[in-house]
């Protein structure tokens, strides 16, 4: 289970999402660029993004939960967000995917699913682990 809270620091809304699908990713956002001088000396230019990580995950959820997440993104498009991921780690950062695209994947006619459909969204989150 994942939890998104916004707007940080005055968090006033939590929305809960199911765990993401496998193949979620996490990577550093620091970069390095190498240059070589005329004298064959190599220089490296580093852009350090202190402790920043980029998380990417794809979530399949019910139609109503997708509408809840849709309303959340619409309400806090640029707010800093508290994220508690499926591993229990707490992150602070932003949702960087733009646009955010909900795709209807198929039907789910269980009684718990009022919308009778399942939606998928792929979110990219960049932040710092707390």
């Amino acid at each position: 289970m994942m939890r998104l809270g916004a707007p940080y620091p005055g968090v006033e809304v939590y929305t809960y999402l199911p765990d993401p699908e496998f193949a979620d990713t996490e990577n550093s956002v620091g970069s390095v660029e190498f240059k070589r001088s005329m004298t064959n000396v190599r220089y490296s230019y580093v852009k350090s993004r202190a402790q920043h990580r980029r998380l990417s995950f794809s979530i399949i959820m019910t139609r109503m939960k997708a509408l809840e997440l849709r309303a959340f993104i619409l309400k806090y498009p640029a707010s800093q967000i508290q994220l508690r991921d499926h591993l229990g780690d707490h992150w602070l950062g932003y949702i960087t995917t733009n646009p955010n695209e909900f795709e209807t994947t198929g039907a789910n006619r269980s009684t718990a699913n009022v919308g009778h459909a399942m939606s998928r969204i792929t979110l990219e989150f960049r932040g710092v682990k707390q």
Partner: protein, 424 residues
């Protein structure tokens, strides 16, 4: 009484439930008495009014009655000191100060007197110190009017007025405070060589009109010291009464009143967790904020395009789209990495938020597909209405009217389009 700090998380435990206060966001550390309520709407108004004491009004009345009975050398000393602070250095503001000084000197001699000498020393000293070294003009005008009336013969009264005016202005090298002193001294001396008995009582009025005008472009502090000293010497006097009345009125013509108002508002946010979160339903945990209510979805097997959005006259109804439809949210926002490596994202609330529906319809009949194309052509660029398969109504435009229809099978036409609009 509570004190909050920015970004501090707090946890409150009430009974068996644990409430986690996300953040109490306060822009300023403050202490206030308040009562926590359900709504948690806390408004704090701080009003501060500062008035600068530019307007100075000083009514000074000074009276001294001195009864002299064979007493030598009475002295009355008065020091009047006032300080004025101008609003800010660098502004030239002319102030006029009028100082009306009325001075009456009554000498009653009951009995025979010889060689009464009355010496009045009046000293006015004005000092202006300025911490800012710059050229300043100090203009001081002193008018002195002395009038003496005597009911007895002129030849018996000798009155000597001595007036000494010294203006000293010291200018030192720039960067060093300079001082200016202005000293006014005058003395009034009356001698009665011989006074006959029938001339008694004798009233002597001495009106002194003293006008002091000082104009300084800028000064931080002005000190005006007035020293009034009276000295009476008599060689042989009986029952001499000397009454000195001294009135001074200082009025500043400039009155500047400034008010500073500071409206401070701070808000409090909270959110909580109770029980097991719901992962299937529309169930956000809303603390102190607001959040859209859960939409009511009524499933239907068709969608409707109509124009105009009010009282439509053109309507096309086709079957619901295939799975795989996309609901795209696109925001205009600024995304920057700072030099410190942190990410800053900003979006103004007024900036556009695009909501685009991308749908694909299959299995349409030829007439239905042609009706859709005709609708696209008739409403090209116009705002149309769209009722989706969940009975929700959108208003917007067809952004891909040039999408082709595909006749994939016999009597089977596929068509797709994008609709950009807002949910009503």
């Amino acid at each position: 009484m509570a004190q909050y700090q920015v970004g501090k998380q707090m946890i409150y435990e009430t009974g068996t439930s644990q409430y986690q206060v996300g953040v109490i966001y306060v822009f300023e550390t403050a202490s206030a008495e308040f009562e926590r309520s359900e709504s948690h709407d806390l408004e704090f108004s701080h009003e501060m009014i500062v008035s600068f004491p530019v307007y100075v009004e000083s009514d000074l009345e000074f009276s001294a009655d001195v009864d002299l009975i064979n007493t030598l050398q009475p002295e009355v000393e008065q020091i009047v000191q006032f300080t004025q602070t101008l609003p800010a250095p660098g502004q030239t503001k002319e102030h006029e100060a009028e100082s009306d000084l009325e001075f009456s000197h009554t000498v009653d001699v009951v009995n025979f007197a010889q060689s009464v000498e009355s010496t009045i020393l009046f000293e006015d000293e004005s000092n202006s110190t300025n911490p800012q070294p710059f050229e300043e003009d100090v203009e001081q005008i002193v008018e002195f009017d002395d009038e003496a009336d005597s009911s007895i013969e002129d030849r018996l009264v000798e009155q000597t007025v001595e007036f000494d005016h010294t203006n000293t202005k010291l200018k030192v090298t720039d960067g060093i405070d300079r001082s200016e002193s202005h000293t006014v001294e005058f003395s009034d001396e009356g001698q009665k060589v011989f006074i006959s008995v029938d001339a008694i009582p004798l009233d002597a009025e001495n009106d002194v009109l003293f006008t002091h005008l000082a104009t300084t472009p800028i000064f931080k502090a002005a000190f005006n010291n007035i020293v009034f000293a009276q000295t009476a010497d008599q060689e042989r006097t009986k029952f001499v009464e000397s009454t000195v009345e001294f009135d001074q009125e200082v009025t500043l013509a400039v009155s500047i009143s400034r008010e500073v108002e500071s409206d401070l508002e701070f808000s409090q946010h909270y959110v909580y967790e109770i029980g097991t979160p719901e992962l299937c339903f529309y169930a956000p945990i809303v603390g102190s904020g607001t959040f859209p209510a859960a939409p009511i979805l009524v499933k239907q097997s068709f969608v409707t395009l109509f124009y105009p959005t009010v009282s439509p006259t053109l309507t096309v109804q086709i079957r619901a789209p295939e799975f795989g439809d996309r609901d795209r949210l696109q925001h205009d926002k600024i995304n920057r990495d700072t030099r410190g490596g942190s990410l800053k994202i900003f979006a103004d609330t007024t900036w556009p938020k695009l909501q685009i529906l991308e749908m694909q319809f299959t299995g349409l009949k030829e007439t239905e597909a042609q009706a859709v194309l005709d609708f696209f052509e008739d409403t090209l660029g116009l705002e149309v209405g769209f009722t989706d398969w969940e009975s929700r109504t959108w208003h917007g435009v067809i952004v891909s009217p040039d999408r082709e229809l595909v006749r994939s099978k016999r009597n089977n036409v596929d068509i797709s389009f994008e609709f950009e609009g807002e949910l009503q």
